[in-house]
Subunit: 317 residues, 2 copies
Amino acid sequence: MYLALAGGVGGARLANGLAQCLEDHELTVVVNVGDDFTHCGLRISPDLDTVMYTLAGRNNEKLGWGLAGETWRSFEALKRIGGPAWFQLGDEDVATHLARTQMLGEGRTLSAATRALATAYGVRHRIVPMSDMPVRTMVHTDEGVLEFQRYFVARRCEPVVRSIEYAGAAEASPSADFDAALAAPSLRALVVCPSNPYLSIEPLLAMTGMRKRIGLLEVPRIAVSPIIGNAAVKGPAAKIMRELGHEVSSTGIARFYRGLIDALVIHETDAAQAPAIESLGIRVLVTDTLMGTRERQAELAAQVIGFSGRLAAAALA
Amino acid sequence: MYLALAGGVGGARLANGLAQCLEDHELTVVVNVGDDFTHCGLRISPDLDTVMYTLAGRNNEKLGWGLAGETWRSFEALKRIGGPAWFQLGDEDVATHLARTQMLGEGRTLSAATRALATAYGVRHRIVPMSDMPVRTMVHTDEGVLEFQRYFVARRCEPVVRSIEYAGAAEASPSADFDAALAAPSLRALVVCPSNPYLSIEPLLAMTGMRKRIGLLEVPRIAVSPIIGNAAVKGPAAKIMRELGHEVSSTGIARFYRGLIDALVIHETDAAQAPAIESLGIRVLVTDTLMGTRERQAELAAQVIGFSGRLAAAALA
């Protein structure tokens, strides 16, 4: 069984590649909930939805979020009557939020709600929230403290980030499925998807004991760098790294994950950084890490799986 | 200023008639909130919406609720993913619920949210909830206790009603606008719209002190009977009256409101009941109480206003 940690679009793409390579029971995708929020009463889990829609083959490639073929009747009406316009709500996407909110309101866990939704969307592989308890990413900026969606959507990541807080992380425990996957004797590898380390992976790592637990894992732990050259493939990762004083490069990513990963997959463009990364005790795989198509997702996933096999064999030798 | 008490469709129709006859500041429509509930996280106020949509000229005549020209993208998607299918949600109607939920979540009162929504929908006359505090109509039936919407929508009023409880009514106080309207020196008449007495008017009357307060009003208090012959124009009023052991007739309505109203407007069909109703100390106006068209709404409202003027003059004489 492979355990993948994922956030938004990049994470969803590699997760979808892994899903193409692995049987249902061979993959657990653990997803960030730091972006979750309540909007107009709806319990919205952006990263869980992105992963779910992508694995269902229903994601909206053009927008980068939401469902393909979406309509906007409710949202247009909401704007007309003066409702909040900063967060877009597709008509079908709203149904996901309504169903999730109903289930959570009935006392079901986010894990249970996610399982029900993923099944309804025809997803066969397991998608689980990192925790059933609230962890909320709060972005401390030059404009004050912003809830993640306010920073990301309403303010389009424009404020300068000074620090990031993962409210609730210290009290949160991993979801039962995440916990079980970490402890599973059948675990073959941990794959940290090319998601934003600060916004998508760190909320999970900030849970008490999680860094130590991942640090002690005896299976290969492989991250795929979300940085190519000195830019992120998508989203604000590069801007945030820079604002927090880190080097925007795959080497910077390696430093971020030092002690937690055994290997890093980087883009061909960054091949020259391999020695610097290896000097941190992290093995490197150089390949084309862009996943523009479903086929490329599967190819990269297959390379990651193959790499983990070689790392495991080397560890035994 | 005229104060109208209203519930769903019948109440909305007479309120719409009054709105056609009266200037903006001359009418306050106080609306039942006993039907309000939370569904999939959305705060839904069915009677407030029916009155608002009707006064906005946007109500769906065919359905009897919701907005004209509605689409069902979200709801169809919600059903496909296994969400609750028993309560229909139109795409535009959802926007109303989203905006209301957002405002209530921000700490605004239901009165303030209703004012903002009504303004957004272009309603000029004042629509106010009976209370900003929760009052919930619970129907005790042969199938157990059902929340109102479960009884009304999910179970289509089929269970036999044994009693009706207005949970929270004893602790609820009238909304500030309702309170002010009751105390206004400019108040000319109280109009009890042809709504279901048990489901639409009684939740309001059940608030502590309200019966006494209406009983002591010195302006004409006129109800329009929702019963014609031995049937309700719409909805389960007749069935409920029967199940609760009351006579299903305008005389039965007169007995229900005895001590609270000075006069009752009944349909021509029921003209023969006038003496029995007058023997209860209630004056009677016999007319065509059906309001199938917007014009008939205005005509009946004009008759009610005229009747209240004659009653006021008679009281002075």
